[in-house]
Amino acid sequence: MSAAKRVQQWATFARTWHIFDCKWQDPYDSANVIKKYLMGLHKPIYHPMNDSGDVVVCINSKEIALRGDEWRKRAYFHHTGYPGGASWTLAWELHNKDPTLIIKKAVYRSMKGNLQRRHTMQRLFIYPGEEVPHDVMQNVTNQIRQLRFVPTRLDHIPEEVTKTYPKVMDFPEDYVLK
């Protein structure tokens, strides 16, 4: 095998490390994307029996966004196995306890329940804030595109922009300014 071919072979089967910023992202939508990278579904050489999955590092998992009233409507079920051991935890309660769990459970549930799933989950790193350990961060070579655009707050937009931005509504003629 020539040197160039050998390098191509290494590059094909090497694990790539991806980073994903969860800020203002829906965890249930982004789980479908993260899953593809974790399982290696984005690769042309994908086969369920070869080990071609990548590593995904999720940051800012504390700042995920849920739709509408899902923070208080979505419940996570757990049963201890004993009689009366069932418990339902609401999404906001779970997020208070551990801000990485919602995204972790979303990715876990997006995959089919087979023997491979727990090993695939080992390749997912989730961090609640921006800080990532150096030994993890030094491997990252790719960024996964966010699904939803991160909204800008009005008080963070400079005043010149708000003043010169095209206007839609004009005041009626005898309106008293306040």
Binding site: E63, R67, A91, W92, R153, P166, D170, P172, D174, L177
Partner: protein, 179 residues
């Protein structure tokens, strides 16, 4: 002292103007007005000053449609937001802030000049933006403006689906992973 003067001023004004002959003007009372208060010694002068609107130059309107003879006379022209046909999201704070007073309340329809449907839509979008904490400087004072300082489920980031605005019943989100 200033308060006393103001009370006296309002009393005399009411005594003079609350009769049946009131505000008859031969010319239109036009233009935007700003109320100015000045104190000169012991007298308080309050006057409404006509001010040019700062928005008129930046105003954007849809081009008027080509006039058809029969249809255009019977039908009402669409309001300016319907005519523009913009897809406004609740994250477009620069547009939504134009429909809001400085204290964060929605302007009424007689001032915004929208049609009923658009007024309802804009009101809901403004509420969405305020709940998501995107218009913190334009939110009523009795609200918790900063989401991080709210309690329980209100303190986390929330986004909204604009399609739900005119839905009679909001369907449950389909959970494909549910077993």
């Amino acid at each position: 002292m200033a308060g006393l003067v103001r009370v006296g001023f309002s009393l005399t004004r009411n005594a003079i103007f609350s009769t049946s002959i009131r505000s008859i003007a031969t010319t239109a009372q036009l233009n935007l007005k700003a109320i100015r208060e000045q104190t000169e010694g012991s007298t308080l002068i309050i006057d409404g000053v006509t001010v040019p609107s700062p928005r008129t130059e930046l105003l954007i309107r849809a081009e008027p449609p080509v006039q058809d003879t029969a249809l255009s006379t019977s039908e009402k022209p669409p309001c300016y937001m319907c005519a523009l046909g913009l897809d406004v999201k609740h994250t477009d704070v620069l547009i939504l802030s134009q429909f809001v007073r400085t204290d964060g309340c929605m302007l009424p329809r007689r001032i915004t000049g929208l049609c009923r449907r658009q007024q309802k839509k804009m009101g809901k979008l403004v509420a969405m933006a305020q709940k998501a904490g995107l218009m913190m400087n334009l939110t009523p004072a009795n609200c918790k403006k900063d989401p991080t300082k709210r309690r329980d489920y209100k303190k986390f980031n929330t986004y909204f689906d604009e399609r739900t605005i005119f839905m009679k019943k909001i369907p449950k989100p389909v959970d494909r992973f549910k077993r």
